[in-house]
Amino acid sequence: METKHHIFCGGVSPQNTGADTTKLVLNLWQNRPETNVRLTIEHLHEKLYKTIPAQFHDLLEIAAYVYCGDHALKRGALDVQTLGANWRRRMHFHIPVRRLSLWNDPKINTVLRQTLDYLSDDYYDFSFYSAKDAPLLQDYFTGFDTGTLPKQKPEQVMMFSGGLDSLAGAIEEIVVKKRMVTLVNHQSTPKFKKLYETLGKGLMDKCGDMKPLHLRVEINKAQSLNKEYTQRARSFLYASLGATVAMMLDVRKLCFYENGIVSLNLPVCAQVIGGRATRTTHPRVLAELQELFSLLAGEKFTVDNPFLWNTKGEVVKKIMAANCGPLIASSRSCAHTWETTNEHTHCGVCSQCIDRRFGVVAAEAEEFDPLRQYAVDVFTQSAPKDADKIMGAAYLEKAIQFETAKEVPQFIADNPEVRRMLRYVEGTPTGVAGRVMELHQHHAKEVTGALKTLLGRNLDGVIKATLPPDCLLRISYETGSPTTMPAVTENGNALPTTSAEAKTNPDLPMPRYLLRRGAGLWKVIYDGKEGEIDLGRGISLVAYLLFNPPPGGLHGTELANRVFGQEILQEASLGADGDSTRRKIEKEAIKWNAVMKDPGASESEKAEALEELQNLADSLNVTRMDSEGGADKQVRAIRRAIDRLIEKLRDAKDRKNNPHMALRAFGEHLHKHLWIPSSRFSGTSRSRARAGVAGQFTYERPADVVWVE
């Protein structure tokens, strides 16, 4: 059973919650000793402010607490080992409310719980308490506007995220249909404030005398509450903010604008299970939010997504058709906000960036979406991380599968998540399922059409293989050339391109410098001489640097992230679970130590045990470092892993106990050309350390050395 988290909010006193539980205290009521969250709503016109039913005030606070709890409580790692048990959290919120009897109504409580359970793939429970000295709603509104009021009453409230889809929604409603709307924007990070302002101004310029109200909402919380980045419950806060504003404006309609492919967000590959694919605007979520808001309002309250049956390409075409193409550049779609900069507002490799690129190409709007704003051009460049490579390939492959779908029942069997939306959209389940299949076939046509366009432009690079082999254009293009899959023996463990193979196959020249991972070891050829290196973290780090030498250096934490990937980093940074991870590592170490001491153990068993112990020691180091919060310590552990490898190589001996020339030369080469931080971290003088690159690792390849992977 998972750990249960109790979240005590708004001054509710933490109670004894029993064993296997954690406690978190949140308070957004200002001027209290334990206040650690701040909610502010800006730019409401002072004449539009009015009191709303107290339950919507409660809703706003509940949503803010859920948002903060979602950020503050880490999902466990080790997805693979636990069948996702650690991914799903059990959270029990204790919240003071103004309308206690209403929130304790089983119907409302159930809808609230089920909506959040499905939205974030967690388990939510709520205990409500009678609020005492609760603040006024007015306390959350800062900086009321006092200018001219819009001429008309808004017809609906729109959630405006600043992405392409919500921009298209705003253009469609205001510029094309000349409807008065109110935009609500939640600023999750101040990083893009300027971008939002540019986009907002550009949009207003297009609105003529239909300028909408544009409210901005911010939640500031203590730094210690920023632990979990997945934020699956985020749209509950958005929607609750929108519903509260709608109540204030006497509007009973709230709209999200999201293309159907992203709204349904069918798993892009088999590992994306449950809430690992966001359900932000999934039809079931919107239907349940509608039910909740209607129950609270005591009348029909509509929550809708008018773009459900549109693809990304169609959404971008709407922007183009309204002559608003220039606004595209100021919109932001990237899901990896932590990777973006002022220069590169998009990472280029997340599913949202890939979706945007395909949609923009399909809509022939590339001139308005400058390539320079993407850190990586996923079509012609390699994605830096394994997870990003998986995403790119999976996105492409899934689209191709959609294109070949023929029968609706088989489409559902291949994509079982489809059935989970069929009851929440108007129409018969059979009819809706048919529309969903058609929508995905249309999306697939856009993707393959865009691919053809881009292939046409880059055909030379594809045919001559000057583009990286794993960029999207090359992995999508079947050249018809003989397969380059490595030869394999029957046990599946043989490595290709050995010197023996090169001797018997004159078409396969042996490279002078090669480093390749095989089954249980790394194969190295240095200056034409072969050697083998045991698996280990040091060689994995070195291999990454040799094949991806970062020009300005790469910080140790990022290097570790790229080499070991999300799983290991998460395993190492469990936070609350760190102790149990350490215990598991130590328990495992005892087992391998016993093998080392066992007089009956063979040499190969002892070698395996030694390797496992080294890996465990590294894991323990990383875990400790992370729990202590020191990036410099992480750098130190990485440096130690590389140092250990280099020293081992420089002393390497062959089976006859003679110096191993190839490995020793490789070790010297690394010692000379691998730049690793030392001045702050090693405590010993190191010739290859440089000033100004603390924590940065890189490799400076001599011109006459070309490594083959």
Partner: protein, 265 residues
């Protein structure tokens, strides 16, 4: 606003071996066996997985409905609605809804429960798709065809095939779940999969391998249902059904290992 969380395989020795086998071009039998070996301890949890147990319960309900004079009434008692106008999609939806309702009420979702529901939907679709029953009209038309399809399960041989599809689907779903954490990193000229087309071919070969391997449970399931279905007026106990499901799953993993050895010889 939609995105997906993607991860890679853990860096333990056994999972590194799986990655290595994929990278070095091992065949699907060897890879499947290595994955099952790496996931060994984790798969032991399957026996108690709420989703797996619920899938087995629904399969038994379908089997009992198949031999009942009134399948619709039998299914209704199990929470599955079947009317004269039910289409194939309606039937799949009804079974899926009941599955979700139980798991959500118990609040015991797991990755395996999702794999199991996918396999269940796949097996039911296959059952309802039988050409000799509906000549391809089932999508549009009606409950009689759906009822006729359910009634096929009265024959132990048909139940065996249906259950085989379920077990094959679970195995393939699990393998895909794990391998999707590494296959995408093996893309590009000079690597295991030069193009997405090659990856597709590999996945197709793996699906076929799972289906062929699942033959091991076909006769076992047919014999089992023949032996137990008519013994008790109250049907098959949940405990007995779950025990049967677990044994079948174990048989499947052992078969995958045996086929890998055969390929290696």
């Amino acid at each position: 606003m939609g995105h997906s969380r993607i991860g890679t395989l853990p860096a333990t020795k056994k999972w590194r071996e799986v990655v290595s086998l994929v990278a070095n071009g091992a065949d699907e039998a060897q890879i499947a066996d290595a994955v099952m070996a790496a996931a060994g301890k984790t798969l032991a949890r399957v026996r108690d997985d709420a989703g797996f147990r619920e899938a087995i319960r629904l399969i038994m309900q379908l089997a009992l409905a198949g031999s009942s004079r009134n399948p619709a009434a039998e299914l209704a008692a199990a929470g599955i609605s079947l009317s004269k106008n039910s289409t194939q999609v309606d039937m799949v939806l009804s079974i899926g809804d009941e599955y979700d309702r139980r798991i959500e009420d118990a609040r015991q979702r797991s990755d395996f429960s999702e794999v199991a529901q996918g396999a269940l939907v796949g097996a039911v679709t296959e059952l309802l798709n039988k050409k000799e029953l509906n000549q391809g009209t089932l999508f549009e038309a009606a409950g009689d065809d759906v009822t006729a399809a359910i009634k096929q399960l009265k024959q132990p041989r048909n139940f065996g095939q249906f259950f085989q599809n379920f077990v094959g689907g679970i195995s393939n779903g699990l393998l895909k779940m794990y391998l999707s954490r590494t296959n995408g990193t093996q893309m590009g000229e000079g690597k295991r999969f030069a193009t997405t087309n090659q990856l597709r071919q590999f996945e197709s070969a793996m699906k076929t391998h799972c289906h062929e391997s699942s033959k091991i449970v076909e006769k076992f399931a047919a014999d089992w249902i023949h032996k137990y279905r008519d013994r008790s007026a109250s049907g098959i106990s949940r405990e007995k059904a779950e025990g049967f499901g677990w044994v079948a799953f174990r048989k499947m993993t052992l078969e995958l290992a045996a086929r890998a050895r055969k390929h290696g010889d």
